[in-house]
Amino acid sequence: MFKVRKVLTKLVIATTAISLLAICPAQAASNLPKRIISLSPSATEILYAIGSGKQVIAVDDLSNYPKETPMTKLSAFNPNVEALLNYKPDLIILNADATKALEVKAALEKLKITVFLEKAPSNLREAYLEITALGRATGKLTGAQNTISEMKSKISAAIRTGKTSKRITFFHELDDTLYTATSDTFIGKVYKDFNLVNVADPAATADSAGYPQLQSEYVIKANPKIIFLSDAQYGESLATLTKRAGWNGISAVKSKNVVALPEDIPSRWGPRLVDFYEFIANAIAKVK
């Protein structure tokens, strides 16, 4: 009896598999690249989140998350075609901002290697679209969709907790020469989701391309209630801000609402975006 059942089950599975193969023959072999090189830290995080991690054979020297990534000396911003060739990949995820990205892509495609050009998204919607595209490219579409829905729900939750009706001003510091991001940038939009008021916005000019450099006086005058330090990994902290001339009068410094953002979180637009949102929600809670 059991034997028949076993045989029947196997038969059903086999038939289903064959019919699936018949319906989408392309899906079976070529949509499952087995030797992926990721030259984009964000894409690396996404690949591991959606389940393609096992197909990744090498990542660039900045792709440090998750811990098990096979990091190499390959450069994300200065891709070396020949070095890539040595790994015998079948799919390369290339950052569109890399030097000579288009020429590198052309050269790789001449060598019959598929290239996925990853463009930095300008908002959440585009980020989700790219995650889906990556899922499709690596044969983990369902994994991608699951990751996206998880991100969506966690981000909504963070926004619900943190969204404020009060006028809370903030300053997002990129480096100690006071480069910042306006609400036109991806980072800026994340803050905007919480209704935070970005002190950089009035300072935006036509050609700062979303990343203007502010003057110290300007920041002091704007008197933000929260300061987010993207350069905490380079040594900036509440202590160093207090030492800056005139900065200990700033509301955020006085009330110690200076948030040291962890390394890489604000610059990766993968699944750890959730962490970014949650960080901001916590910071806002302390101000309320």
Partner: protein, 345 residues
Amino acid sequence: MKKLKSKGEESLLAPIWNWKITALSAALLFFVGILAISFGPVSLGFQEIIRTLFGLPGGLTGQDRTLLIDLRLPRALLAALVGAALATSGAVYQTVFRNPLADPYLLGAAAGAGLGATIAITSAGADLYSLLPIFSFFGAISAVLVSFFISGKFFAEPNSLLLSGIAVGSFATAVQTYLQQRNSSSLRPVYSWILGELTVANWQIVTWSSIYILIALIILFTVSKQLDGLMLTDEEAYSLGINPNKLRVIAVVAATLATATAVSASGLIGFVGIVVPHLVRGITHRVTNRGLLTIALAGATFLVLADLGARTLLSPAELPIGVITAFVGAPFFLVVLRKKRLVSQ
């Protein structure tokens, strides 16, 4: 070539130029070229390369063949062309300006090219990025033209050209810095362009740059013998049958064409234009411009080797080629300078 031909005939002076050295440089270039295209992160067999190049059976196939033909070969050729262009222009500028420290970027060509490249990079729209070579080419040419016009009634007079070149260069650099400050996202691409890169050469770049560079070099080789006259005062040159102003214009135009093309294809690669001419002159103990062809060949060899180093030394990362030319060029240069001072033949 350094010694008197002591065939018992003291009255015969040593020949001014020995064409054997030119032939030797050509052979060296060929050898170095083959070496360069066989090395890399992916190793290709020497014999297979020769067979593939000459269309003999038993050559490379598939990805290896594509690697050789579409990646390594154009890159080596581009390195050779750019090296030849820069070395020759440098030598010509040194003669025209009677200044051993002149380099091909002297008349503001480098600053103009940089400005053109920055304009291309900072202008909105990715399409302009692909036009970067054109922008930097015209930037370089315009800067030199403006230098000529500023020198005014002393048109083509070496010293006034030099001064106008400095003025134009400073202005172009100032504008470029301003643009970069307003568009901070352009900093990295412009910086890496400035350091010089041959990273992805393709046959398209090789084709158009070879046309311009070869035209310029042929012009310069044709007038090379007369260029010696520019080392004298204008009246001396005139008395020996040369029109110094006309010759200077031809020489500078051709040299600028070569430089502008080289720069737009590969960014600003420094040192080649100063070091290689002096290297060749130091080794051959001759300053005559009949050595231009040899200088071109030596420049080509130098840059092909430098590019090989850029690709392999820190593999898989790529060293900017400008760093290699500086690291190698500077010590060599010092050695040659010292030798020249201590030895009077």
